[in-house]
């Protein structure tokens, strides 16, 4: 799980397509929330899933729509 999370985080760094990078960082948040559940912290897991995975992704996607999709 942690290996998946790390690979998603690294690929988020190296994607030239910013939309893919945002989706990869959303994946990091989702996996983090699963890890929080495994470590018996459901409170933090809920916060991470709803804020980190849903709202932050939406904010980034809105920002990308306003600017450009591809990194130069």
């Amino acid at each position: 799980m942690i290996a998946l999370m790390l690979s998603a985080a690294i690929s988020a760094l190296f994607f030239k397509d910013l939309l893919s990078a945002v989706i990869a960082s959303c994946l990091v948040s989702l996996l983090a929330s699963i890890i929080f559940i495994v470590l018996q912290a459901p409170d933090v897991a809920m916060a991470e899933a709803s804020i980190g995975a849903a709202l932050i992704t939406a904010v980034f996607v809105i920002a990308i729509r306003r600017t450009g999709r591809y990194e130069e």
Binding site: D43, A45, M46, A47, I51, A54, L55, A58, I62, R66
Partner: protein, 231 residues
């Protein structure tokens, strides 16, 4: 040269972090404060969720500060995004309407997600979750409607009203605790009730409902501002 130097620096920092982390045994906290909360959180506050008893019981004043930080952030974002807007000529392009399946699905799921968010913050003192989580779930329900059914918008005055009233409820509850129970701000003045029932834990459910509504309306306002700006 520069790359080598940064790699060496990174290696030193990495070794330091690994060494200091490996000396802490995993799963057994070295501090005694956590044990106190776990042992006496129930009897002190009447909430079965220890996290809630800490967040709204022991350090409720800090939570008021957190909510205020979020409030200021939402206000600042709204102020920045709405300043230059009035002067711009309003060129409203007709958005392509969402497909029937998408908009119907959104309309069907919206009340269910709202209900789940309300459940999360109303039962914050019994089950995992609380005001912040429930508020975020409610905001994500509104986000889904904004994305799915393009045309639907919240009424800003309602969002602001909910936000202000729930903030007022928080502060007034705290001041009432100060006046009635008389020890400190936000002290518990209601009976603690029986453990594990909905109406228990004194003022904690009231405060958590207020926080849930406040966080939900603030985040919804943030999303509303951003989406209107991006169109």
């Amino acid at each position: 040269m520069r790359v080598a130097f940064s790699l060496i620096l990174l290696a030193i920092v990495g070794v330091g972090v690994v060494l200091s982390l490996s000396s802490i045994p995993f799963g057994s906290p070295p501090m005694d404060a956590g044990k106190y909360y776990i042992d006496s959180g129930r009897t002190d506050t009447g909430a079965t969720n220890i996290v809630t008893s800490v967040v709204v019981g022991y350090r409720a004043f800090d939570t008021l500060g957190e909510v205020t930080v979020l409030f200021v952030a939402a206000i600042g974002l709204g102020a920045i995004l709405t300043t230059g807007k009035k002067n711009e000529s309003k060129k409203k392009e007709e958005l392509e309407p969402a497909s029937l399946v998408l908009s119907t699905g959104c309309r069907f799921l919206f009340p269910l997600i709202l209900l789940f968010g309300a459940y999360v913050f109303i039962h914050g003192h019994l089950t995992p979750g609380g005001g912040f989580q429930g508020g975020a779930v409610i905001a994500s329900a509104f986000l889904m409607v904004y994305l799915g059914c393009r045309k639907k918008r919240i009424r800003k005055s309602w969002a602001r009203g909910t936000e202000s009233i729930s903030g007022l409820v928080f502060v007034v509850t705290g001041l009432t605790g100060l006046a009635v129970a008389g020890h400190y701000f936000l002290s518990n003045f209601l009976p603690e009730g029986t453990l594990n029932s909905l109406f228990s834990a004194g003022i904690i459910p009231i405060i958590y409902i207020a926080i849930g509504l406040k966080v939900g309306s603030e985040l919804t306002g943030v999303i509303d501002n951003l989406i209107e700006e991006s169109e």
